[in-house]
């Protein structure tokens, strides 16, 4: 069964979505992510959708769910890399994506997360701990 890989980057988690999300895959992602946040006490989650060319309301709901779930577990979610065509379509579709913060790319997303988290230890940046466990 396919699983979407979740990478650990310091006290953040990075999820890169590169395939079409269907029901089971999406539900697995939600539960895997929540488990990982718990296990690693992650403070932030980055969802990279730069390879996603279609975001419909189903996908929007999943992203919203992930943002809510992680917030309950005291982690912030940032969606990065939205393609222009997707942004234009979402505006037309009327997808609210409320409470979901976005950033242009992973780098800016991490900057934002760092700024949101009050005490960030210097040695917990991506350089030394960017591998999955």
């Amino acid at each position: 069964m396919e699983k979407i890989p979740i990478l650990r980057m310091g006290s953040f988690l990075l999820v890169t979505i590169q395939v079409d999300l269907y029901d089971r895959l999406a539900l697995n992602l939600e539960s895997d992510l929540v488990q990982m946040v718990n296990k690693t006490s992650a403070k932030g989650v980055l969802i990279d959708i730069s390879a996603v060319s279609i975001v419909d309301s189903f996908m929007g709901r999943i992203i919203g769910n992930i943002a809510n779930m992680t917030r309950i577990m005291d982690a912030q979610t940032v969606v990065v890399g939205m393609q222009p065509a997707v942004a234009i379509t979402l505006v037309e579709l009327g997808l609210p994506l409320n409470g979901v913060r976005t950033a242009l790319n992973v780098e800016k997303g991490m900057e934002y997360l760092h700024s949101m988290i009050p005490h960030e230890e210097e040695d917990e940046t991506a350089d030394d701990d960017s591998n999955t466990d």
Binding site: Y22, S53, I54, F58, A85, I88, T89, L93
Partner: protein, 137 residues
């Protein structure tokens, strides 16, 4: 007067069919040189409608056509199911209205994304939805 140039019919009854369907729609759109933004709008609208069909009618058929009206080329999608039908179409077309767990954006959203939208439904018989997206729409 709208003329059909090519067509293909697909049945969608499970999740995996959705992906095949979306790819097929993209093929047709690319063939008539539809720009990226319009492609995205078309496939997103198609995705909304086909998911609706799966959720509420347990599946159905979709007719994918390349049509032309005068100088314009476009893609026409006709979603036909034999599900329960829609009781109040006007209500269904309002943003946020849903009888399921979704965001309630499927029908009105698809209408906004497409250039032309038509819907017919009969309780107990089924629903037919047709949308057209012109290549330069």
């Amino acid at each position: 007067m709208i003329v059909t140039l090519t067509k293909d019919e697909m049945t969608v009854f499970k999740e995996q069919d959705v992906i095949l369907f979306r790819n097929r729609v993209k093929e047709f759109a690319v063939k008539i040189k539809m720009g990226l933004v319009n492609q995205t709008k078309l496939i997103t609208a198609a995705s909304e409608l086909v998911r609706n069909m799966l959720i509420y009618a347990k599946g159905g058929k979709v007719l994918i056509e390349v049509v032309s009206r005068g100088r314009d080329n476009g893609v026409r999608l006709t979603f036909k199911d034999q599900g329960p039908g829609i009781k109040d179409i006007n209500l269904a077309m309002k943003d946020g209205f849903t009888t399921g767990k979704s965001l309630g954006l499927g029908l009105p959203g698809a209408k906004r994304l497409a250039n032309e939208f038509a819907i017919q439904s009969e309780l107990g018989k089924g629903t037919t939805i047709t949308i057209i997206k012109w290549a330069n729409g």
